[in-house]
Subunit: 312 residues, 2 copies
């Protein structure tokens, strides 16, 4: 009985893959490095190669399908990538068909933010809820929406781009072509930029004098109550709160969950997020919405696309 | 056979009511003035009185239900008004039960923005579409969402508050308690305020020297190419476009329709709206979304809540 699927999360730097059983257990994993300037042929070959590694471990007969979550706008029904800012060579790629041809497996592809929302709804923080917003704070800011228990993808599958809600009218330029998107204030990349920008205002901060500051450095400094780090997380939280307040007013969600690497610094920014939501949203939906951490960590997208692969 | 419903749109200044047949024909109308400081007893009596006028015309036996659209956050399932900024005495009112008791008619109440979206989906600009956003530009800015052909109300029925998307981080104070909401830049009220604020920069404008300027004055001046009026509509359109760009990125809607009194000035602001959407949204959903005028005018809410009354 073919009671497992291969599920992959294809990002700008890594391909993470796992074989997942029907109850969400991860049976084995494979990993490859992806280069953002690689051709689509190379990237597809990496996926196929990692999948074959999984197949060798589990056995082809036990695998029902393959699901791939990608940081891209895509046509979910057709399985075609449309706009993949981190892996631009993939634009236009018929990934679903290519994986079917090369692996002999039914394939499903989905946006990574939507996949993470599905994963958290299946096995994580939004289990049993009806309407949820899932925000992922990493190199960028991703998002996924679950309405009435089902992923909401919009008319072409590009919905959920929470990272590109505007929070600063003429703000910092964004990779999407706009400027002032919340991604430019609440991602790991943004934390580093803001720490550099603010360094001169905090001459006593050990963080301010550090070169090549990383998101992890800012987090560590925040844990030590470094004033620059605390200010950066406070600003970051306020901007994230502004974007989430818009969603509270427009979507009246039952729950908002925040995941991704930056969510590890939860205690350093969540007060600021909540304050802006209360300040900017209608009282009723602001009081109603639960704001909690995502539970599945890096595996949210893999588990979500695994569930989608089982379903289709 | 009871093949009609009474449908009402209860606003801060007027109660508009009609008897609507199953195919959406309006058979008769009634109207009352509502005072924003009236008690809930007085307002309910006005509704009952107007409904009795309709019943006298049509006959009680022909009327299946009554539907009321209100500019309020409400519990749709329980038929209770929660937060009604324009008619604050209604907060907490069990309007559905009161109308049933006093009229002997099954009653349905809904938010006016959602009702307008349902009306336009039934008989107007969004007929046959799957995912739509309906924006109403009047004294305030209202909104309604249709996902998968059905009204989306969120977990407590307060969803669709498009007028309270933030577009100016520390902008003009809003009646909702926040500040910088798009309602403060794209409503009729906002047009008047912005015309006053900008008057001194346009000394040659006939509009600038006019006292007690109204929205209609600004519209008329715009038609005469008054530079102040054109600037006000350009700014207004840009702010509206910012809010809609957020929705294009988050919801990937098939269509956005704009109605309400201010939409009459369509040609004066829509270029500015489109420009901001293109500038700020992802290319794919920005190219996909249709941006058109609502079709049902003031009757959108009445027709929408009529359809809801037939359905329940």
């Amino acid at each position: 009985m073919n009671d497992t699927v291969i599920a992959a999360d294809l990002g700008g730097t890594n391909l993470r893959m796992a074989v997942v059983s029907r109850d969400g257990t991860i049976l084995t994993r494979a990993r490859r490095t992806t280069l953002s300037d690689a051709t689509s042929e190379v990237i597809v070959s990496e996926i196929v190669d990692a999948a074959n590694e999984c197949i060798a471990t589990i056995g082809h007969g036990k695998i029902e399908a393959i699901g791939v979550a990608v940081a891209a706008a895509l046509d979910f029904d057709a399985g075609i990538l449309k706009n993949s800012p981190n892996l631009p060579s993939l634009n236009g790629l018929r990934l679903r068909d290519q994986l079917f041809e090369r692996l002999g497996l039914r394939a499903v592809i989905d946006n990574d933010g939507t996949a993470a929302a599905v994963g958290e709804h299946w096995l994580g923080a939004t289990q049993g809820t009806k309407n949820s917003v899932c925000v992922t704070l990493g190199t960028g800011v991703g998002g996924g929406l679950i309405f009435d228990g089902k992923p909401y993808r919009g008319i072409d599958g590009t919905a959920g781009e929470i990272g590109h809600i505007g929070v600063e009218k003429e703000g910092y330029p964004c990779g999407c072509g706009s400027h002032g998107c919340v991604e430019q204030y609440a991602s790991a990349t943004a934390l580093v930029r803001m720490a550099k920008e603010l360094a001169k205002s905090f001459p006593g901060s050990p963080l301010a004098s550090k070169s090549d500051v990383t998101g992890a450095d800012i987090y560590d400094a925040g844990l030590q109550s470094d004033p620059l780090a605390l200010e950066v997380f406070s600003i970051m939280g306020a901007y994230l709160g502004m974007a989430l307040a818009d969603l509270v007013n427009v979507l009246n969600p039952e729950i908002i969950i925040v995941g991704g690497g930056v969510a590890g610094a939860w205690d350093l920014f969540i007060g600021s997020v909540s304050r802006e939501i209360v300040r900017r949203s209608f009282r009723e939906p602001a009081e109603r919405v639960k704001l909690i951490r995502a539970k599945l960590g890096d595996d949210a997208g893999i588990l979500g696309v695994a569930q989608l692969a089982f379903q289709r």
